[in-house]
Symmetry: none
Subunit: 249 residues, 2 copies
């Protein structure tokens, strides 16, 4: 193990965590290293532009942030989500899918699926478009849209089953609860036989980018089952968000 590297990273982290610049002595005592050692590490980090001396102390530069920004800007939701979704499906054995919202059409588009092994299961093709107001992923994503975008929705929405929330006001009330709960559910609002739950995935800027959903045939959609699945769903969604660099909480 390259102990020098570890020490350098420790110094860097300590400096990044401090809201004020730190001196050599302060860092040395705080990290239990010798003064001259810390000094050399700082010089090395400074030579690569990671830290900079200011008024006899040292502070981190924006280089770390720039590197990090480079990384997160390249991350792709579907790619990052795949292993997490596979783990989720292994746990609950129901089909998981990842969808994005097309607000111009008020529809969700499925961008990635992981199928369950159940003989009876909900089918969903990648690229498939579904009205947003009557599926779990769509409602989750709608719930985090800005209020003015929601007010722009038509008074009456398409109605697919008796359960569809086709009146805007009823939908808005439901969305409010979803926002507070951190997840959405659906029982036969689009197709009589299909329900599910979903939670929002956020990117490095904290912006909602997709929703992670579980789709379940109504016959298996019992409350006690869902209450087991939902915490796992939420955990998976926030794990994906975390991997994308989303600010915690």
């Amino acid at each position: 193990m390259d102990t020098t590297v570890v020490k350098a990273l420790t110094v860097l982290e300590a400096l990044a965590a401090s809201r004020t610049p730190l001196g050599v002595t302060e860092l040395a005592t705080r990290l239990g290293l010798s003064k001259s050692n810390v000094h050399r590490l700082l010089q090395t980090l400074a030579s690569r532009g990671y830290v900079a001396p200011v008024e006899h102390r040292y502070t981190v530069t924006t280089k770390l942030w720039e590197l990090g920004a480079q990384i997160v800007s390249r991350l792709d939701v579907a790619q990052v989500a795949t292993p997490v979704m596979q783990r989720l499906v292994a746990e609950v054995d129901e089909t998981a899918h990842l969808s994005i919202l097309d607000m111009t059409a008020c529809e969700v588009v499925s961008i990635h699926n992981v199928e369950s092994t159940q003989p009876v299961r909900a089918y969903s093709r990648i690229g498939q478009r579904t009205p947003a107001h009557c599926v779990a992923t769509g409602k989750a994503l709608l719930s985090v849209q800005p209020p003015e975008a929601l007010r722009a929705l038509p008074e009456e929405l398409p109605r697919f089953t008796p359960h569809t929330l086709w009146q805007r006001d009823a939908l808005l009330a439901a969305l409010e609860k979803i926002r507070a709960d951190g997840y959405s559910t659906n029982v036969g609002e689009w197709r009589e036989q299909v329900g599910g739950a979903a939670a929002v995935v956020r990117d490095h800027g904290g912006r909602p980018v997709a929703a992670l959903g579980l789709t379940v045939p109504v016959e298996r959609l019992e409350p006690e089952v869902m209450s087991r699945y939902i915490p796992r769903l939420i955990a998976a969604a926030s794990e994906i968000s975390r991997l994308l660099g989303a600010p915690s909480r």
Copy 2:
């Protein structure tokens, strides 16, 4: 100089710059290091969570971003500016960004963006560096630098288009006008097709901390349009300054 630390940072940067995971051998040849050396460095970086193995290769994690985000979140500008920027973009429907100046490199670093909804719009990645002397935000920030810092600039600066102010004296004259006007503009000085305007944001001590800029494709960059946008830009910048506790005027 801690050569091991430098090597580790080089590995980290190479990994961050690559859009795909890299193998030990690939990294070793690319950086001119021995295979076992790279392997050990990767193990060390992995033990601290900076990189992670995936399918017999290595990739960077979002740890760098987490560290970097700590740094930027400490600049309260970013938080305070977001809602103001969103309002500005809602008004003018052009991409707004917030940039800080790195005087050691005479470059600006974009720390926050709010994109417009226009189909044709300037694309700028967060964390991106741009030469300060040929973009609006950079010129705005340069214009409020102390005179001695400006005198230290080289006689001739990099030239990107025929419009670039590449001679120091011409630049200094432009900066003087910017300082008097309270805003800067740019028409194709960096990229032929892109222009914009910017104004300085000040902290509670009245010190310049960032610049708020609008970036506009030249095709929409007509004087009468800009004259409508600029007052709003200035208002937004001073609103952010006010929120930071800057003394008025």
